[in-house]
């Protein structure tokens, strides 16, 4: 999947991945996509809730090798 910006949130724990993602999205323009890599297992549900609440679209959420990959499209 294409993306405009990437956020490496590996090794970070709650709530840092969300806070960093929010900051990154704030610096992007509407319609752009942010790719996030995280290792915090709680981030799967947290990014879903974050997207739902903020209106940014969670395009995909996947796990591979104990890493979690999210694509969020800025509203």
């Amino acid at each position: 999947m294409n993306f405009d910006r990437e956020l490496d949130a590996r090794g970070l724990n709650c709530p840092l991945p969300i806070l960093r993602a929010k900051k990154a999205l704030g610096e992007m323009t509407s319609g752009q996509t942010l790719r996030i890599i995280a290792t915090d297992p709680g981030s799967v549900k947290d990014f879903a809730a974050f997207a739902k609440q903020t209106g940014n679209e969670l395009l995909s959420s996947a796990e591979n090798n104990k890493e979690f990959e999210f694509y969020i499209k800025r509203k």
Binding site: C14, P15, L19, F50, Q53, T54
Partner: protein, 201 residues
């Protein structure tokens, strides 16, 4: 002019059907357009209790909420310029695991069950426990308090400080970080009244 009772009954029946639907739609619209808000009272001044207010405040701000944190009593420690001296005490806190943040996994998993009477008697026990906690926080990729506080302020969280306790404990405004409002309970309560979430921590 007299109303035809049949027409009136029909109108009433129709209104009874339509009004709840209309009301539901309006309420939902209002709910969706409203910015959620949270008001937190932070009253504790230890390293462990510094986390909940800042984690919740910064996360709520990231979700787009309006957030106000009212710091009072020992909570004043959390807005001092230097928070590197916040301490945690396992004394009188049976819920706190005492585990070592270094060494092989089998060693790290041991829970050191140290009786309160021993903790109270060893000078410097609190300092040791605090540095172990700080190391554990670092090892786990958990943010420091200063960082979470900065992120909260950057995200627009409003910090208000209880002026009465500032005076009570002999602090001056210079002791605290920039961007504070110094107020009393009468200023905070109307904020809490309108908040969707209010927490006493």
């Amino acid at each position: 002019m007299s109303t035809n009772p049949e027409i009136e009954e029909l109108i009433n029946k129709r209104l009874d059907e339509l009004l709840p639907q209309k009301l539901d739609a309006l309420l939902q619209e209002r709910e969706e357009s409203k910015t959620p808000s949270m008001a937190i009272i932070a009253t504790k001044g230890t390293l462990d209790w510094a986390y909940p207010p800042f984690i919740l405040a910064s996360t709520a701000a990231a979700l787009g909420w309006d957030v106000t944190v009212f710091f009072t009593f020992y909570g004043l420690q959390l807005v001092k310029k230097d928070v590197s001296d916040l301490k945690v005490s396992p004394l009188g806190n049976p819920g706190m695991p005492m585990k070592m943040p270094f060494g092989p996994d089998w060693f790290k998993s041991i829970n050191w069950n140290i009786p309160n009477i021993v903790q109270a008697g060893i000078p410097g026990f609190e300092s040791v426990a605090t540095s172990l906690m700080q190391q554990t926080i670092k090892n786990n990729g958990v943010a420091g308090i200063a960082e979470l506080r900065e992120l909260s302020q950057e995200a627009g969280v409003k910090f208000v400080v209880c002026q009465m306790t500032v005076e009570l404990f002999g602090f001056s405004h210079d002791d605290f970080v920039e961007g504070m409002d110094y107020v009393g309970a009468a200023s905070f309560l109307p904020v809490a009244q309108k908040a969707d979430v209010t927490l006493f921590i």
